[in-house]
């Protein structure tokens, strides 16, 4: 986070008293954190700025309900993730993925990706992998998308995902398994297409 001298308790106390400077500090402190969450779970039809704004408005609106039982960061992340999830659910039309739906750029780069080693990969390889994964994840149901992003991109544990989403551990594992299977199926179809 950006502002290392940020005093959470002091900031909350001042915000409660109506101190706008404290509200601004809290916003600036958590902005990069919320932006990362939004970028990881961004629906296609809404801009990241709009979603970040929506999340912070909710955070400030509910701040008087924050009891301090969990770290503020976790509390904010829960609001952020739920807001993203609701926005994803609002995207009711999710067209069925079809063979050949990969953009040409991605389809062509997958072979190269398989041969790329993590240690020797360039920024372009990292960006391409991100693009591929984002493309695959975008085809999943909102809940599956959330689980896969948290588990494989943000490297959260099942317990951490349970804390963020409130879902049971077994539900998280089942969702992750099914989502991975779907992603593998999409990749497999691509391989079959390449062979043909």
């Amino acid at each position: 986070m950006q502002h290392d001298n940020f005093d959470e308790q002091d900031s909350l106390r001042r915000i409660e008293q109506g101190d706008e400077v404290a509200a601004r500090e809290l916003l600036r402190h958590f902005h990069p954190f919320v932006l990362k969450i939004v970028r990881a779970h961004l629906p296609r039809r809404i801009s990241e700025e709009d979603l970040v704004q929506m999340i912070f408005i909710k955070v400030f609106h509910k701040l008087n309900q924050y009891t301090g039982r969990m770290p503020l960061e976790h509390w904010i992340s829960r609001i952020a993730v739920n807001t993203c999830l609701n926005a994803l659910k609002a995207e009711k039309i999710r067209p069925e993925w079809r063979l050949g739906d990969f953009s040409e750029e991605i389809a062509a780069g997958i072979e190269k990706l398989a041969a790329t080693k993590v240690d020797t990969a360039t920024n372009a390889d990292f960006d391409f992998a991100k693009k591929l994964v984002t493309e695959l994840i975008a085809q999943l149901a909102p809940e599956d998308r959330l689980v896969i992003t948290l588990l494989h991109l943000e490297e959260k544990t099942v317990d951490e995902i349970h804390a963020i989403t409130g879902w049971s551990r077994s539900v998280i594992k089942v969702r992750a398994f099914r989502a991975r299977a779907k992603m593998k199926k999409m990749l497999n179809q691509r391989e079959m297409l390449a062979v043909a």
């Binding site: 950006q2 109506g18 706008e20 509200a23 601004r24 916003l27 600036r28 902005h31 990069p32 932006l35 990362k36 970028r39 700025e49 970040v52 704004q53 912070f56 408005i57 400030f60 609106h61 008087n64 997958i110 990706l113 398989a114 790329t116 993590v118 990969a121 920024n123 390889d125 990292f126 960006d127 391409f128 992998a129 991100k130 591929l132 994964v133 984002t134 695959l136 494989h152 991109l153 490297e155 991975r180 992603m183 593998k184 990749l187 497999n188 391989e191």
Partner: protein, 101 residues
């Protein structure tokens, strides 16, 4: 399928390393909008708090007036009932009969 599994894990491993620049500060317009929203909700919640306090005191005052009124009335009623002893009742009824007559 195993190759696909590895490819997927490999893609995740590379994707995690992708550079994703995050601005150090929120855009000015967004910051202004969020803080304006917070100011409005803070002011309205404060107004709500004052209104709640006002209504609470008004309710307490109303209760006190009701209790005081009750106390005052009970003494008044006691005085009336003291006046209505048997002799007074007889005089009252005689007076009423005389008036009727």
């Amino acid at each position: 399928m195993k190759g696909t599994e590895q490819l997927l894990d490999h893609a995740f491993a590379l994707a995690r390393r992708a550079h994703d620049p995050v601005p150090s500060e929120p855009p000015f317009g967004m910051e202004t909008a969020i803080l304006a929203h917070w100011r409005n909700s803070y002011a309205s919640s404060n107004t709500d708090i004052y209104m709640v306090r006002l209504f609470r005191w008004a309710a307490i005052l109303a209760c006190l007036v009701a209790v005081a009124g009750g106390v005052w009335k009970s003494r008044d009623i006691a005085q009336i009932s003291q006046r209505l002893d048997p002799e007074t009742k007889i005089v009252d009824s005689a007076l009423l009969a005389g008036l009727d007559g």
